[in-house]
């Protein structure tokens, strides 16, 4: 009886002392995480943004001077009257990296979503040994990126690689292909490895969504004799959509800041250089710490912008099942 009463007062007592107490303890529990997050994510982020407005170099970070927006955009008028534009916003190499990243993201996330959906639907069906298959399919995702990238680099090697060997033996190609060297195939190679690696992740998230759908809906559809494709489009897809949207945004954020896979497979190749690779190169290799920080800041802004647009346009529901 007492238990029921307290549950009742929870439901209605938005202004009560108990409710305020619960809010307070919620914050108390969250505090350690928020502090850690501020230290490991917030502080470096703010410092990067700060450095992007200075002329910092790696050898002399403490002596950085404020230069305003110069790293992003600057205009100098020469004596002859000619105007010279400078900075990240007019840097063709930067825009090329942005394009590479966006192209990679769109293609990889689209394909991963489709394949992930197919895998999830298969895994959602009842069959013997399903548990084992579910575990096995997670393996590519469990291998650290750097390891799988190196592994694939060897498999894609033009002279010794197993991929070329298989394709040659099957008669699909007549000559060994230099997957990671050729500008036409470098991006394809990166995409293949990324899709192999992250499809399991998509499948897992979609599968979780599929399992939330009550089975009686399908039974009802079956009794009514609805075509399976129509069931998929009218029942499964709308119901799995919230989970799908969250999965897509996770993958998209990951894809937009991709670094390790590309760095191992195609290193400094201009055809596959992404925003993160560009930023790293300027930060450390070129001793242009401020310029690299500006690139990181823009990368952060682009990520935020895309996420916000996606949430609004896709009407993503982060509130849970209500």
């Amino acid at each position: 009886m007492a238990i029921a009463q307290s549950a009742d007062s929870d439901e209605v007592g938005a202004g009560s002392e108990l409710f305020r107490q619960r809010i307070r303890s919620a914050w108390l529990f969250l505090a350690p995480m928020l502090i850690v997050l501020a230290m490991v994510a917030g502080w470096p982020l703010l410092r990067s943004i700060y450095f992007s407005f200075t002329n910092a170099s790696l050898t002399n970070i403490d002596a950085a001077e404020w230069v305003g927006f110069e790293n992003y955009f600057s205009m100098t008028t020469l004596k002859s009257g000619r105007v010279i534009y400078d900075g990240l916003l007019v840097d063709p190499l930067w825009w090329r990296s942005v394009w590479n990243t966006v192209r990679f993201t769109i293609i990889s996330v689209t394909l991963e979503t489709i394949f992930g959906m197919v895998v999830a639907l298969v895994l959602n069906a009842e069959f013997r040994g399903r548990g084992l298959v579910r575990a096995a399919i997670l393996v590519p995702w469990a291998i650290p990126t750097i390891v799988s990238a190196k592994m694939w680099a060897w498999m894609l090697n033009d002279q010794f690689g197993i991929i070329n060997d298989i394709l040659l033996n099957l008669g699909l190609i007549s000559q060994k292909i230099a997957w990671t060297a050729n500008p036409d195939t470098a991006m394809i190679a990166v995409l293949i490895v990324d899709i192999w690696k992250t499809t399991p992740f998509m499948a897992l998230l979609i599968l979780a969504g599929l399992q939330m759908i009550p089975g009686d809906i399908y039974e009802a559809a079956k009794i009514d004799g609805v075509h399976p494709i129509k069931v998929f489009l009218k029942v499964t897809l709308p119901l799995v959509r919230p989970a799908l949207m969250v999965a897509v945004i996770f993958r998209m954020l990951d894809a937009l800041r991709i670094f390790d896979l590309i760095y191992v497979l195609t290193a400094n190749n201009a055809q596959t250089k992404t925003m993160s690779v560009f930023a790293r190169e300027n930060l450390f290799d070129f001793d242009k710490f401020a310029y690299g920080s500006a690139a990181s800041t823009l990368l952060f802004l682009i990520l935020t912008l895309i996420t916000i647009v996606y949430i609004i346009v896709g009407k993503v529901n982060f509130e849970g099942g209500r």
Binding site: L58, A178, T180, A181, P183, A267, N268, F284, D285, K288
Partner: protein, 419 residues
């Protein structure tokens, strides 16, 4: 007085034994470099009582530099000794210990040009460990079989390579290629391309006085020539090769010619090598334009002590030990690295074991430096712009003339009012 001195001396010995230091050396080497380093360190550990740990790195100099730069900027004291590329001295000078005083007893044995390349504003940044100048590796057996001589020009090389490759393939060696080199987009491509350009009379990208000279017809001609090799005498994958990938193809017997550094010599004669005893080396070919002459990019590695090391004294001892005559000799014999000590080029043991070394003295003395001295801290970006232009040309992304024109504009902008 004497007893006092003796007492002092023995106290010193006890103190040094009691304070045995734990040192770390970071090195990204090719081939058996790390194994040879470990052997030398074992000797050092016995002699000095100090422990030394190797921190291995990727062999790409471009990859190493970013990591070292980051460690040094963070004031990392974990690493005491860095193995540094010949081009890094001006970029790392501020964070390395000045070795001038500590090495004045031995520095005179080394080639003055190398010592000079490691001296920034009067400060000896790093101690020479070995020097490098690439060679043209060729298959003696195959050249003899088809009655050819080692090529003197690139055109000759291409013709010989093509002929042998085609005939060998007809004879059943399906996987054989004419010529392998380093075409990946990294520092190694800068070295390769500098050789093509310089050997064709096209200058050295940025001249010693800081003038940007790369946009010229002879340089463009050299790059177009290299482009014509890809997929004819060189595998298409050469555009993703670094030193070790090229050596892989070569050492399994699948290449007629290879451009690589001397380190590949001992390895190619190793027990597990398919080309053991079947190859020799020659200087790289020359171009065909007027004023063309063979050119080899000057490479080489040095040892530097981090300013943030907590055991600087012991670290300097280690550097001097590794750069000593005995150790350079060991390294020459076991890893076929070119010594920086002049005397060792006349050493009978080295001449017997690694005949490439005495022959390489001339090549090395005429080697062409990369423009790291005139471009100072901007060198990495210069090199990156250059290798990108070259890689684009080789992979068919614009013509050599177009890419070099763009490169000149980029370098001019990068230079600003001065390097």
């Amino acid at each position: 007085m004497r007893t006092a001195l003796l007492g002092f001396a023995s106290a010193m010995i006890i103190a040094s034994a009691a304070n045995a230091a734990n040192l770390s050396i970071v090195s990204g080497d090719t081939g058996n470099g790390l194994a040879v380093l470990r052997e030398k360190l074992d000797i050092f550990e016995k002699q000095s009582g100090n422990k030394v740990t190797i921190v291995p790195m990727p062999s790409s100099t471009t990859d190493q530099f970013g990591q070292y730069k980051l460690w040094l900027a963070a004031g990392n004291s974990d690493i005491d000794v860095y193995q540094t590329d010949v081009i890094w001295a001006p970029q790392l000078a501020d964070q390395l210990v000045d070795l001038t005083e500590a090495t004045k007893d031995v520095i005179g044995q080394h080639f003055p040009s190398i010592v000079e390349s490691q001296t920034v504003n009067g400060k000896l940044v790093a101690m020479p460990l070995f020097t490098d100048a690439p060679a043209l590796y060729y298959r003696k057996d195959l050249l003899e079989k088809y009655g050819k001589t080692p090529p003197k020009t690139w055109a000759e090389l291409a013709a010989t390579a093509k002929e042998i490759q085609d005939k060998e393939r007809e004879a059943g060696s399906k996987d054989i290629w004419g010529f392998v080199w380093q075409g990946n987009a990294y520092e190694g491509l800068t070295c390769n391309a500098l050789e093509w350009v310089k050997s064709n009379g096209g200058g050295q990208i940025v001249e010693a006085d800081g003038e940007i000279s790369i946009n010229n017809p002879k340089a463009a001609e050299a790059l177009e020539m290299a482009k014509s090799w890809v997929n004819t005498i060189s595998p298409p994958g050469v555009l993703a090769y670094q030193e070790e990938e090229a050596r892989g193809v070569w050492q399994t017997g699948n290449a007629v010619f290879m451009r690589n550094w001397p380190y590949a010599y001992s390895l190619g004669n190793g027990a597990d090598s398919a080309v053991k005893g079947k190859f020799d080396v020659a200087p790289l070919p020359a171009g065909s334009a007027e004023g063309a002459a063979s050119a080899a990019t000057l490479g080489g590695w040095n040892l530097a002590v981090s300013k943030y090391s907590k055991n600087q004294k012991e670290a300097i001892d280690l550097v001097k030990f590794l750069a000593s005559k005995e150790m350079q000799k060991k390294q020459a014999i076991e890893a076929s690295n070119l010594p920086t000590i002049i005397e060792l080029y006349d050493d009978a043991d080295i001449a017997k074991e690694v005949p490439i070394i005495p022959r390489w003295k001339e090549v090395f003395l005429n080697a062409v430096p990369r423009p790291s001295a005139p471009t100072k801290v901007k060198y990495n970006e210069v090199s990156s712009n250059f290798w990108t232009a070259v890689h684009n040309t080789l992979s068919g992304n614009g013509s050599a003339a177009e890419n070099l024109e763009l490169l000149e504009a980029q370098l001019t902008k990068l230079k600003g009012s001065s390097w």
